[in-house]
């Protein structure tokens, strides 16, 4: 993992070259003076450049999810009320709101009926300091379902957030490839660290789940060997 270690109190050099630099997670501005920029967490300073624009952020791995707009998340319905649902994205965190209309083609009359305990795959649609976070099950690009909605069967488990992001954006991550060789599976990865998985049977699901959780502590070259072992033990 490259990048320089930054801890709070360090001064960070934001790209002074051409183009603007915007700040990403882990870097904060002073609420009283927006020109003062400082790192608020310990991690590795990184920057990505896209068309003249540089985004600087501090890569850090946490357990506690803080909702960010357009994040893909896996949540559990915890209350049902008149116009929608309250969904938990992380244990002990403030629940977020999923409107009953936040589904493709949903109308006042025709809308899905979720129950407490149901699992949904959704996208964060509203984040604001002063109001509750909202999620919806509509693909913002197509306006269609796009894989969002209720997840049936399978089971849920948690990984650390940086790992979840890594798996979400690298669909050919070694660990997933290694599991593909063992069994067929469906997976929904949330940026909130919750992963839903369903495979052909209970045993392979347990194995796949354990493999993903434990692979957070594996080096790349160990993956195949360890996955083989886990599947052998369970089956």
């Amino acid at each position: 993992m490259s990048g320089t270690l930054i801890i709070p109190g360090d001064t960070i050099e934001l790209g002074t070259e051409s183009g603007e630099t915007s700040i990403g997670p882990g870097i904060t501005t002073n609420p009283k003076d927006q020109s003062i920029v400082y790192p608020s967490t310990a991690g590795l300073l990184k920057s990505i450049s896209k068309r003249n624009k540089t985004i600087a952020y501090i890569e850090h791995n946490t357990k506690r999810y803080i909702p960010t707009i357009h994040d893909y998340v896996v949540g559990v319905v915890i209350t049902v009320f008149g116009d929608g649902y309250r969904v938990s994205l992380a244990n002990y965190s403030q629940p977020v709101v999923l409107s009953a209309l936040g589904f493709p083609n949903a109308t006042k009359k025709n809308r899905p009926h979720l129950k407490v305990g149901d699992v949904v795959y959704a996208i964060v649609s509203l984040v604001d300091r002063d109001v509750e976070v909202e999620i919806e099950c509509i693909d913002p690009v197509t306006g269609k379902e796009g894989g969002f909605g209720q997840l049936n069967g399978g089971t849920l488990f948690d990984v650390k957030l940086a790992y979840a992001r890594y798996l979400l954006f690298n669909s050919n991550a070694e660990i997933l490839e290694a599991i593909v060789n063992k069994c067929q599976f469906e997976i929904a990865i949330g940026s909130n660290g919750k992963i839903w998985i369903n495979t052909e049977n209970v045993k392979t699901t347990v194995a796949a789940m354990n493999a993903i959780v434990e692979s957070q502590q594996w080096k790349k070259e160990e993956i195949v060997k360890n996955v083989n072992k886990i599947f052998k033990d369970v089956l």
Binding site: I7, G9, D10, T62
Partner: protein, 224 residues
């Protein structure tokens, strides 16, 4: 001198961040959860509420712990960027495993609490505006010599003892966040103590940074 403490990050599973911190005979564990859902009575409209609990090694918590909680809260309140998490809660718990000093002193305990909290906050990645670190210093009764990290025995034979906490910028002691003194001393002596502590904190920060760096690389094992 850089190895006068032992610390480890991420030792607990259920909470968001945790650290063990040990210097001399004093040993404690700190956990941080947050930002989590605040109870209605704790909720603040524009910033995060801070809940600090200190649990003694022996017996139930009393006013002594309450006082330390208060001091700790004032230090943490000034560095945690609470404005980032409106209406939420940051929950900090310190469990003292060994106070390492007689019950009439709280200086080692307080210093331990501050440092353990710093490390646990770093582990939980709760937003803080700057790093901070604390040290305790005693002035010897007869010689007037300054003792860093006085032991229980040093404390009884000293004329005064001090807990000093500085914020750190780029590894240098920046501003004084907290200082507390007990006993008799002159203004000059106090200034000397502060300088002495500031330097010790900078020294030790090299070690602290190493601990954090290890923890961060540990977080990304799968990348290697």
């Amino acid at each position: 001198m850089t190895t006068s403490f032992n610390a480890e990050l991420g030792i607990l599973d259920r909470v968001d961040g945790s650290a063990s911190y040990k210097f001399g005979a004093t040993s404690l564990i700190c956990s941080v959860s947050g930002p989590i859902e605040a109870k209605a009575r704790q909720e603040l409209p524009t910033s995060a509420a801070l809940e600090v609990t200190i649990r003694p090694d022996v017996g139930v918590s009393s006013t002594r712990e309450k006082l330390t909680e208060d001091k700790l809260k004032s230090v943490l309140g000034s560095v945690i960027s609470t404005f980032l998490y409106p209406r939420q809660l940051i929950q900090v718990v310190v469990q003292i495993l060994d106070a390492g000093e007689a019950p009439c002193y709280v200086v080692r305990e307080l210093v331990g609490c501050i440092n353990a909290c710093y490390l646990a906050l770093i582990d939980a990645k709760v937003g803080i505006s700057e790093s901070f670190y604390a040290k305790c210093v005693a002035i010897e009764q007869n010689t007037g010599k300054l003792i860093l990290d006085p032991t229980d025995r040093d404390l009884t034979s000293s004329k005064s003892h001090h807990a000093v906490c500085f914020s750190l910028g780029n590894g240098k002691s920046k501003s004084l966040l907290y200082s507390e003194s007990f006993g008799q001393f002159t203004e000059e002596e106090l200034l000397k103590v502060l300088d002495f502590a500031a330097e010790a904190i900078e020294q030790e920060n090299i070690g602290v940074r190493k601990v954090i760096s290890e923890a961060v690389s540990n977080d990304y094992v799968w990348m290697s």
